[in-house]
Symmetry: C2
Subunit: 456 residues, 2 copies
């Protein structure tokens, strides 16, 4: 049992939550799993984090760092009880240095809030996970989040310059430098990025910012077949264009959003959508949008809708944003997969998913995602009851095996957590897995940091 008095001594009693009502709030994340922690600690400083970890390590108590709890693979769920470290109070933007194109933040900063502050200096933080309005930078770094801008701008790991990390034993280390380049020693920064809270706990994060694009324009293109949409996406890239976003939405996803809050009317004959953002200087955006419209028009679109103002763009993007919640209209349970294949294999991946679906006809399947990156979110919806759940799990396993066969990865951007840890070995061979576990053991010999995640 965790000593509440010791924890209160470290962080103050107002930062320790121990009633059942409070703890239940920390039992969940985006996966709808439920594991109630023994206690929740809300640190306000690096020293707090250090004291708590040193204590937890001495007493071998599991610790789970938690940002907004919006993760989709169980990263923040306290599967073995113990202490949840809630970073709600460590939410300060410590500095934005426009001349250096950097910002240093505490991990609890909500990603969109950093965006808003950076925008005041005409700068932006390029990674843009769909959860940006509520997820935190700390969570983004832990999972190496992607998002809709990955094709043009890359992912979280490409923008992290420097980290302050508290190790399992409470010691505080600093990785990288607040410079745009550094190759001094091994790249510990990127070892921690995407380590899902299993190697250390971030207390400060320095990110690289870029100049805010002058202009963003959006196109929504309706297609009669997914083949037309996939071909158009490929042609956009082979015509030397790199859109800010290139999103695909399939028929099942479209069906879900109909009837949901929706301002864009989508006719029944539409079986696939592409949603495309182009950014840059005003003149080049205009030229690129025209070229994309031309490419789309040559590939049998049913309709092309364009948006030039922020409000018009918002209306088109609403189509994409509502998919995830709207999917619950079909069935009460959902598994949101996150496969990524080489772009040339996307159509094959979609076909193989459809084949697999035929073997489980009672399940509902909807595919959408970042087609520009080859990153498809396969959503399997199912009803209550063991039979459907097991079918969904079997279908997931088929899809993950197919993905690896096609040269893809079982997680493009959501991470492994406890949800996919059983499948890690589908992709990672034994020796590579051994190296990862050895590194884990090196940094967290007692295994107190987010146990039960990444590895089984």
């Amino acid at each position: 049992m965790v000593s509440l008095n010791a924890l209160k001594g470290f962080v103050g009693k107002e930062n320790v939550l121990s009633t059942l009502e409070d703890r239940i709030c920390y039992a969940y994340d985006g996966t709808k799993q439920k594991y109630i922690p023994d206690v929740v600690v809300r640190p306000r400083s690096t020293q707090h984090v250090s004291d708590v970890l040193r204590f937890a390590n001495e007493h071998e108590i599991p610790v789970y760092p938690r940002g907004a709890g919006s993760g989709l693979t169980g990263g923040a769920v306290p599967v073995q009880g113990g202490i949840v470290l809630d970073f709600t109070h460590m939410n300060k933007i410590l500095e934005i240095v426009p001349e250096d194109l950097t910002a240093t933040v505490e991990p609890g900063v909500v990603t969109q809030i950093l965006q808003n502050e950076a925008a005041k200096y005409k700068l932006f933080y390029p990674p843009d996970p769909a959860s940006a309005a509520f997820s935190t930078i700390g969570g983004n770094v832990a999972e190496c989040s992607g998002g809709i801008t990955g094709l043009k701008y890359g992912v979280t790991r490409d923008y992290i310059l420097s980290l302050e990390v508290v190790l399992a034993d409470g010691s505080v280390i600093h990785t990288g430098r607040k410079t745009l380049k550094s190759v001094t020693g091994y790249d510990l920064t990127r070892l921690f990025v995407g380590s899902e809270g299993t190697l250390g706990v971030f207390t400060q994060i320095t990110v690289k910012l870029l100049p805010l694009p002058e202009k963003i324009e959006t196109l929504l293109v309706f297609f009669a077949t997914p083949q037309d949409a996939v071909r158009t996406a490929s042609l956009i890239i082979s015509n030397n264009l790199l859109p800010r976003a290139l999103e695909f939405i399939d028929k099942s996803s479209i069906d879900c959003i109909k009837g949901y809050k929706q301002e864009v009317q989508i006719p029944d004959e539409v079986n696939a959508l592409l949603l495309i953002d182009v950014d840059g200087k005003e003149t080049s955006v205009k030229a690129e949008i025209s070229l994309i419209e031309k490419i789309a028009m040559e590939n049998q679109p049913l309709r092309v809708v364009s948006a030039k103002t922020a409000q018009e763009r918002d209306t088109l993007w609403e189509v994409r944003r509502v998919i995830s919640p709207a999917l619950y209209n079909i069935a009460p349970f959902k598994i949101n997969e996150d496969i990524c294949v080489p772009r040339s294999r996307i159509l094959e991946a979609l076909n193989r998913i459809a084949e697999s679906h035929k073997r489980y006809p009672s399940l509902k399947v909807a595919n959408f995602g970042h087609i520009g990156d080859g990153n498809i979110h396969v959503n399997i919806m199912y009803d209550e009851g063991d039979k459907q759940r097991m079918q969904a799990e079997n279908m997931i396993e088929e899809i993950l095996r197919t993905t690896v066969e096609l040269g893809g990865t079982i997680s493009g951007e959501h991470g492994i957590g406890n949800v996919k840890s059983a499948f890690l070995s589908l992709e990672i061979p034994p020796q590579e897995l051994r190296i990862m576990k050895d590194i884990k053991h090196l940094l967290d010999p007692k295994g107190i940091l987010n146990p039960g995640k990444m590895f089984v």
Copy 2:
């Protein structure tokens, strides 16, 4: 002593060089150090590399992977004798997949040759080290090379998707996936990128490519003071522009290139240059170049020269390219430092270097480099003799200490090697260093891989 027969058995006698004449060719790299290896092995396959490493590990023989030997920190120099692994023959571009925006190459491919091949598909590999015409991708990955495009496009680590690596014991592992995103397990790929041949030997490298920019234009701006140049560089970035290249050249460097092969006439009153590339769609390049010209004109330039054709660009860039060889006109020896500071500290760094120089008036100092990244190549030239060499080394130490004080890094892009290993602890604290050494020990317990590099 290394058994030549065993090595010949693994790779064939035609791939083993053992005469003194041959071995002397492998004693050097870009640092002009001289250490003659016992033997040179030129593998032609992953199996060759694996067999040689397994054998070397069993017999505890040092192994030094070598690309073009153009490194500037001694990465390829066989400081403890043993086997040089020369990748000259593993120089195949295995595939370029335009639809996936990827290329897979063997490590001995010269970077420019990959660029030329990618250009046939209207693609490019963004990192552009000054050595691209002769350095290899394997060497670039080992050192995490930067180059002139870092500000806009990032560095080598941002473009490596997947690696085949032979470990010290001869086993072959694969990291990452050939997908634009992957977050499955820890990021072993980037642990190897920049590890300077001390953790494993690459045998296949998959890189991310981008669409080739439609247009590149170049400006060369002459200034009367370095302050004017540095201020102009800052204003370019604070005006929301991200040039493809933003290079600074100081008075001493300018003096060196005068009299060297040179088509651009530089008047005596010029004390600093900025060399700027802008790329993108033709319309946006035009707009950005105009804006940069306007910013330059408002900051007392002595002259602005622009280049629109490839040939004109080449003439302007010749000014930058000849600096490094031209520096030997001043003195026979050179130390080429590679510091990187937050961009806002550049002027302070230059001032502190000038102060330090006053203490060593007999040395010659020239500064140039990637001012857009805060990455300055400080070149200290000196004559033969211990006294000057020791002064140069003392001055280097002062500069590296200053750099760390200013929040900078002792290596922006050249690596540590054996040249800077004594200074690693100026920047990396003991615990972080301990973690790096533990990782080294984990992957190379007998220390056969590039011993004497990175760590002292």
